[in-house]
């Protein structure tokens, strides 16, 4: 991936969003990329109690050491619209909680600060997650209203320099980003990295977290991910969303769960599963320069059930340049 390619990929965004300037100059402290990243693409055709077994088999491959650690599961909860595939499914969240407890985690907490709906409890009730959390006795923290601390950002693309962030996030030992795989009308895709906008507290930054939009969504994602480490990704790619995501798109079935120990590799893989080109998503391309791996040569597939969508995911017009020719994105998954 070259900077020229990043620039090319950014063109559509630049024309539509004046603050999303291309990533001309590196603005990170140091290269933290692992030599290799691991990804598992699991097959799962429905949301059911069986997800625990599927997820357990996948997680065992990573030999994660979370013994005694506080694990924070960060699902993607944005808003509730009946029949719209907006949010990470409650059964996948419950399965993840169960698995991390089995792995010996000291504490598992689900935490999220919805970016659109101010009434977090409404989202929990309407999606059925409140009942799931209650039945499984999983604590939930509303990150929009948590105690906060001012944190210096470890990259400087957004020029924000600092963000106030929730103590629950800052004090967690092991953060698991659990995105719902969707296209996004401002950022192209919303996956494990964009999902972390949910840790930015609404009580300070509002609903939506508009300052991040003004400073550049792509840039803000990079700064946030450089600062708040994602230790693991469990992506809900069973029922996804295409078109005018993250709220008003249409459902698209992939029947997959994507696991990874690297958010960049996870998002690159999910983007390819969507039939889109991750090299053209600015925040994925830039984080691949210092935080994780985008290149298939540096991604080790532990299990793969790749698919080659006959038709790439639909996007809004500004992101049509992300769509690969049929099969091109899937080639990188093989």
């Amino acid at each position: 991936m070259t900077r020229r390619a990043v620039l090319t990929g950014s063109t559509g965004i630049v024309t539509s969003n004046a603050t999303s300037l291309p990533f001309l100059v590196p603005r990170y402290d140091h290269d933290r990329r692992p030599a290799r990243s691991r990804v598992a693409i699991l097959q799962a055709t429905q949301y059911s109690e069986k997800l625990s077994a599927v997820l357990w088999d996948g997680l065992k491959l990573f030999n994660l050491d979370v013994t005694g650690k506080s694990v924070l599961l960060k699902p993607n909860l944005v808003d509730y619209t009946p029949d719209a595939e907006i949010n990470t499914h409650p059964l996948l969240i419950a399965a993840a909680s169960e698995c991390f407890r089995r792995l010996g985690a000291g504490r598992v907490v689900v935490a999220e600060g919805p970016g659109h709906q101010r009434d977090t409890q409404l989202v929990l009730f309407a999606t059925g997650l409140a009942q799931t959390l209650s039945e499984q006795q999983i604590p939930f923290v509303d990150l929009n209203r948590d105690e906060v601390a001012k944190v210096r950002l470890r990259a400087d693309y957004s020029r924000l320099k600092h963000l106030w962030l929730p103590r629950t996030v800052l004090e967690a030992d092991f953060i698991v980003s659990m995105p719902k795989v969707k296209t996004h009308h401002w950022s192209g895709v919303t996956l494990s990295m964009k999902n972390m906008f949910g840790v930015v507290p609404g009580v300070k930054y509002g609903w939506p977290k508009n300052l991040l939009h003004w400073q550049g969504i792509q840039q803000s994602i990079v700064d946030l991910i450089a600062t708040v480490p994602i230790h693991f990704v469990i992506a809900d790619a069973i029922l996804c969303m295409e078109g005018n995501g993250p709220l008003a798109g249409t459902a698209r079935r992939l029947d997959r769960i994507v696991l990874s120990d690297d958010p960049v590799a996870a998002d690159a893989t999910c983007t390819r599963l969507m039939g889109l080109l991750p090299e053209r998503v600015p925040h994925i391309a830039e984080t691949a320069n210092f935080l994780g791996n985008l290149s298939p040569e540096r991604i080790e597939p532990l299990i793969t059930h790749p698919i080659s969508p006959a038709t790439p995911f639909q996007t809004v017009r500004d992101f049509e340049h992300l769509r690969a020719r049929a099969g091109l994105a899937a080639l990188a998954l093989r």
């Binding site: 004046a18 409404l122 209203r145 009308h185 009580v203 509002g206 939506p208 508009n210 939009h213 005018n244």
Partner: protein, 267 residues
Amino acid sequence: MALEPTCLALMALQLEQHANVQVLLDDQRPDGSWGAFGDDDESSGLTGLALLALNTLGVFPGPAARAARWLLDIKGREANWPWKWKFRTTDTHVRFDPDKFGWPWQPGTCSWVVPTSFALLALKQSFPCCREGKVAYRIQRSVEMLHDRACPKGGWNAGNGVVHGSPMAPHFDATAIALLALRSEPSNKLIDRSLVWLERQAHSCPSPWSLAWSILALDAYDKPIAPLQNHLETLSEPDETYDTATLAVTALALDCTTSGNPFEVVV
């Protein structure tokens, strides 16, 4: 101190001796605004809610005047000409008229429905008559903004009614707070449609925060709220209530017929 729960709790405790307004006064910034929480080094768009709390709790001419001045000086970024031009020409995915603006969640960002509604309510309460100059201008512009950003079938979402050609669905709290802010305006189809939506949906609302705001709005429009209050009581267990802000707005909604509705503007 977090601003929103503090303001709502003080309003809920207005008749109690526990309502210590000094905690709010102590945190007012020299420019008249409040931060989102005690250590916050920037101003919050919920300064309008703080002014509403002051109006509810008594007469505080100095702090209230400073808060009103700050509100009159702050506007959504779309109101500035380079951005107005951008939203008219190159960035047209969100359907809105940048000439119609209100207040942002924080300075330097766009206008959104909730901070605009709180600020509008606060200014209407603070200047009940003889509105001239900047006061009249900002009230008029924000009323127009709320009409401009409404959802196509009534009600309000966070900020815009149509994004990338897709209509947005209304939110309970944004709809209720916008309706409260528009209470003193002449009735029109948008207000009527929004009230109809809120009345219909509130009966099946599963969440105390949203239901409580719905009750406060419907009460202000003289709609029957007793069944909704009964519903709210079944939803709210004080020991299990989510946060102080929810507990406070629930108390306000349950007491509004007896203790008054602090979000009403005299028509």
